[in-house]
């Protein structure tokens, strides 16, 4: 396996963006590709530093792309750049142009993320459903469904930069909005694997479990016992999600507990 650190120029952002790519050497067929997003304080290096990601990739023969999206929350910022367009369109197109070994088929492309990136992968997966067939959202939900105001705090200001003042749920930032829009259009519907730790605030699914219940999405919510908002959970959930997508049944179903 090769671990590639790429500096990719984005026209959409007019910025050089660092991207980490885990790539099988001498691939024999187009590679199934997992696109992973980081948390609010993270970058493209964390998935590789804190999980067994490269080992999973080697064992399963897949490609993995981990990208930095800074503080954009993976959406088109109200006061900032169009990160959703970069992540959902430009990054995918450019990497497939550079690496024709990456599969361009929808059924071979999956988007996942943790915490802030858990919202991000729902935002991108539901916003660009023709590109991604599956979403793996770990410890997050509809981050846009809150009332945001610049109350002088760092958190308040950061959210206003991304979503603007007020509630952004009924805009292209809203997970539920994007899902409903997709239902109206009649698909295609990415499958959603939603995981959370029993000991964290989003352990109840952030209100998405009831929402997706009645929609035509293949939605699965799983609570991992004994873990909080932490890498132990995301490492286990990622491995489980990869195997579910590839149809690999673990020898011990409770290997992660």
């Amino acid at each position: 396996m090769a671990l590639i650190e790429m500096n990719l120029y984005s026209e959409v952002l007019n910025l050089d963006i660092p991207v980490s790519i885990i790539l099988p050497q001498n691939p024999e067929k187009p590679l199934k590709t997992f696109w992973l997003y980081h948390g609010s304080t993270g970058d493209h290096t964390l998935w590789i530093r804190y999980t067994n990601l490269e080992r999973y990739a080697r064992e399963r023969g897949i490609a993995v792309v981990v990208v930095t999206a800074h503080k954009s929350m993976f959406t088109n910022m109200v006061h900032g750049q169009n990160y959703a367009e970069f992540l959902g369109v430009e990054l995918v197109e450019r990497l497939r142009e550079v690496f024709p070994c990456l599969s361009a088929k929808r059924e071979d492309n999956y988007v996942g993320g943790l915490s802030n990136g858990a919202y991000g992968c729902l935002r991108i997966g539901l916003g660009y459903p023709e590109t991604f067939c599956a979403i793996g959202s770990f410890s997050g939900g509809d981050a846009a469904d809150q009332y945001f105001t610049d109350d002088g705090t760092y958190r308040g200001r950061r959210h206003v930069l991304v979503f603007g003042e007020g509630n952004a749920a009924e805009s292209e930032h809203g997970v539920k909005f994007l899902a409903r829009r997709l239902v109206e259009k009649g698909g295609p519907f990415p499958s959603i694997y939603h995981a959370a730790g029993a000991l964290e605030p989003s352990g109840q699914g952030d209100g998405l479990t009831w929402f997706f219940k009645d929609l035509p999405f293949e939605y699965q919510f799983e609570i991992f016992p004994g873990v909080a908002h932490e890498w132990k959970l995301w490492d286990a959930a990622l491995f489980k999600w990869i195997d579910e997508i590839l149809g690999i049944k673990p020898v011990t179903p409770v290997f992660y507990s």
């Binding site: 090769a2 590639i4 790429m6 050497q25």
Partner: protein
């Protein structure tokens, strides 16, 4: 161009090694050419980018530029150590072909180096003419046997090349590699070798290449101008 830094698992040297690459920018359509740039003694994958303005030389030429790190190996299959010649000659092009849209023509594959890398470039091109259509040596250390008597710090010549008598009879002694290639007699598949510099070593190898009928050029022109020209031929 986009800049890639990576760690790959190599097969011939059987060790993970860092590699830097520049890939053609958006809009440049393949199939792409290949240029492998070899560093000097004490260098690594970062040396070319630090020493030369590599990106401006290759910009717009539709070339995947590969800058490997080969330690102080002289790019040979070491007597005691790593099989770096096999890595350069066989492995890198195969790796690029697996990932990128690469051209299959030998004339679209170039190997260049300075110092020890200049020797490596000529050695690699003489070893397997279908691997590289062009080789460029910049102030190459083309007669490394002299370092048996004038040692390079922390570089054991015996470990790299074996005993001196052995080295002088092997294809790692470039005049032997020239003879070996001529004996194979593969007309039309000879690499085109450019020697940048004006040393006596350059002169002697140039004469040997000419005598053997291998297309060669000896020049004192700016190496980056030569490289930029060769890659756009």
């Amino acid at each position: 161009m986009d800049y890639l830094r990576m760690q790959i698992q190599t097969h011939a040297p059987r060790t993970p090694l860092p590699v830097d690459m520049l890939v053609p920018g958006r809009g440049e359509k393949g199939p792409f050419k290949l240029a492998i740039l070899l560093h000097d003694v004490a260098g690594n994958n970062t040396s070319w980018m630090r020493r030369y303005t590599v990106e401006s030389v290759f910009e717009g030429s539709g070339t995947v530029v590969v800058m490997p790190s080969c330690l102080n190996s002289f790019y040979v299959n070491m007597y005691y150590g790593y099989d770096m010649l096999d890595y350069i000659v066989k492995e890198i092009a195969a790796l690029c072909k697996g990932w990128f849209n690469m051209s299959d023509k030998p004339e679209d594959r170039l190997v260049a180096g300075y110092g020890m890398g200049g020797y490596g470039a000529v050695r690699a091109a003489l070893e397997q003419p279908v691997a590289f259509g062009k080789a460029i040596s910049i102030n190459g250390l083309l007669e490394p046997d002299r370092f048996y008597d004038d040692p390079i710090p922390a570089l054991k010549m015996e470990d790299v090349f074996g005993p001196k008598e052995f080295m002088l009879r092997s294809a790692n002694h470039l005049p032997n590699a020239v003879r070996q290639l001529t004996l194979l007699g593969r007309k039309g598949l000879l690499p085109e070798i450019t020697l940048c510099g004006g040393s006596e070593e350059d002169q002697r190898l140039y004469e040997a290449l000419q005598k053997a009928g291998i297309p060669a050029d000896l020049t004192t022109e700016d190496p980056m101008t030569v490289l930029a020209g060769k890659v756009r031929e």
